[in-house]
Amino acid sequence: MIEEPPSEVRVQFRDELDGVVREITRLAAHVTEAIPRGTQALLDGDLQTAQAMIDHDDVIDDLSIEIEERCYKILTLQAPVASDLRAIIAAIRLVAEIERSADLMVNVCKGTRRIYPTELPPPVRGLLQQMSEQATKLFTMCMDAYLEQDASLAAALDDIDDRLDDLHADFIQTVLEWGSDEGDIQPAVQLALIGRYYERIGDHAVNIGERVRYMVDGWLPEHAGSARVHATRPVWSDVEAAGGPDV
């Protein structure tokens, strides 16, 4: 049996979706580059680079809005269904996750300004470097999962994120000990917040992984919770038979 060639509408949809995927790849590239760059600025106390990164966030915001609008246009004009619809919805959610991750790196840069010119001790510097590497790795992997539509890799991100959570816990302890030794808690508080930003970037990467799973096979973490709610909620006819609900 000869397979029919895809219709013109279908070809147009695939082209537009490819364009969205390409733009999301570029948006995410800004984050994967921002994590090590922002970390280096923090470790060097490089206020110029920190400011440049804060300014660059406008470009990322602009690109995010542009991609979202492209998605809405596709939804309106093409009215996709099934996996095509999931792909567009996943793209919209991904843009929000990526944009928020970029904002977190902006927060790291603002933190760099707040702690300047405090000299960071080697254990703190080492843990910051490790958290940065782990966050970059997670972000790179979640984008690989998206581009290759690899649900298995996407599912593994949650476990991989545990390493970043452990580093974050070590970091908080090290920073607070250092702060109490120094007698000035203010830089330690700022550093604790900065550590939290890296940890949150890891969480966003995990969220992206969940959206990839949704795109590939329709799975969502909320579905498990929703199933539990449905399993425990009484069916209305049962309630009526028992004399109506208690008010």
Binding site: T25, A29, E33, R37, Q40, P122, P123, G126, Q129, D144
Partner: protein
């Protein structure tokens, strides 16, 4: 229409269309296209009287087509050679037509098209600059990628024209990472060597001048001690420079089998005093006495001693440094591991440069010359090996020298003092 002319039409029109297509495809000369168009026009009119004339025209067209195909083949071979030549260039090259479509890209450029992660930014830059070049601008942009590996790329684009109108744009992607690294090494070397040699000499001059006008014996004593300190610092730098130049010149020196355990023991013995002053324990994990290296014993001891010296300087008082050796058969690994301050990631690739300082203030306080790791690298390079470094700030550093193993157990001589 007669039967004869109908047959002529049926045979002639497809032939003419085929010839036209072929001619356009080979981008032949205007004369051929013009004749083909005339032939097609006459065939469409199809009067019988012109059929013989058309046959003649088609015959002429066929000869022209043969000629064009031959020339096209030559052009195709030339194009293939050109594509191979351009692909051999390290810089990425992208050629766009006047509609903005990519008509050619060489292999290095392909790497960036459809890229992901940081390299997607390069692709974005190529597109942006190409669009501006198509509107007549000559533009250039630096793209720094943190990677890893960290890279600096320069993307430039310029419009192409045939003298009358724009026919497209050319984008070139150049990787300037290595050039920038070499520039930084050269710039820092000149600045650092000036500082290392001029500072102690200048210090001695100023101290001597102060000493001349001083009568207080207590102050004179302090100034003399300071002068001695500066003189020793200059002396250490000169000694290390001489040592480095000796090692650099010693590439073809005689190679003997050297027992590894003696190299480690001698280096540990030389470092023992400095370690003791700081309360640092030197843990020597005794290797097999059968383990040997083929090389210059003095150089090898110097390399391990320099690693130990560094480990002691950058470890906390009372900590420990582990020295060990192992083998996987063809090679021997000598390791020096500390739990000191560690080396920042961005400095890891530069620490083997002469006079390079990770932390200038701290390094000079410790009395280092800035040449120790340069000596280590040269020794290992002379022995056909490599230095590996694994470090985390706040956790410590492990240097591993990987060198070809020697022939086996050797008669052990007592190590020379010093």
């Amino acid at each position: 229409m007669s039967r004869e002319s109908a047959i002529a039409l049926a045979a002639g029109i497809p032939t003419a269309i085929w010839l036209l297509t072929l001619l356009v495809w080979w981008r032949s000369r205007r004369r051929i296209r013009s004749q083909a168009h005339n032939a097609a026009a006459r065939l469409s009119d199809s009067p019988l009287a012109e059929v013989r004339g058309l046959e003649k025209t088609i015959g002429q067209l066929e000869r022209e087509v043969d000629d064009a195909v031959t020339k096209g083949g030559d052009a195709s071979a030339a194009e293939t050679r050109l594509v191979h030549a351009i692909s051999a260039i390290d810089d990425g090259i992208v050629l766009l037509d006047d509609a903005g479509e990519i008509v050619f890209r060489n292999r290095p450029a392909e790497h960036f098209l459809g890229a992901r992660h940081g390299e997607a930014i390069v692709e974005s830059s190529i597109e942006d600059l190409a669009a501006r070049a198509l509107s007549g601008e000559r533009v250039k942009q630096n793209v720094e990628l943190f990677g890893p590996p960290r890279r600096m790329l320069v993307v430039s684009a310029e419009p192409l024209d045939d003298g009358r109108r724009g026919i497209g744009a050319l984008v070139v992607i150049e990787d300037v990472t290595e050039r920038q690294r070499v520039d930084a090494v050269r710039r820092d070397f000149v600045a650092n060597i000036s500082h290392e040699l001029k500072t102690p000499v200048g210090g001695i001059g100023v101290l001597a001048e102060t000493l001349l006008g001083e009568d207080d014996l207590d102050i004179i004593g302090r100034l003399a001690a300071r002068m001695h300190h500066e003189a020793m610092r200059a002396s250490r730098t000169i000694d290390d420079l001489l040592e480095l130049s000796r090692i650099e010149a010693g590439e073809a020196s005689l190679r003997d089998p050297v027992p590894v355990h003696l190299v480690l023991a001698e280096a540990v013995e030389r470092s023992a005093n400095a370690a003791e002053q700081r309360g640092i324990t030197l843990d020597l994990v005794e290797p097999s006495r059968r383990l040997t290296l083929l090389g210059d014993r003095r150089q090898l001891v110097s390399a391990v001693f320099n690693l130990l010296d560094n480990a002691i300087k950058y470890s906390a008082d009372g900590s420990s440094v582990v020295v060990s050796a192992s083998t996987d058969g063809p090679s021997v690994q000598l390791s020096v591991a500390d739990r000191g301050v560690g080396i920042p990631r961005r400095d890891l690739e530069r620490i083997f440069e002469r006079f390079y300082r990770v932390d200038r203030a701290r390094s000079r306080d410790t009395g280092g010359t800035g040449l120790g790791l340069a000596i280590v690298r040269h020794v290992v390079s002379n022995h056909g090996g490599e230095v590996r470094v694994d470090s985390r700030e706040g956790e410590g550093t492990t240097f591993t020298l990987v060198m070809p193993a020697g022939p086996g157990p050797v008669a052990v001589a007592t190590p020379e003092a010093g």
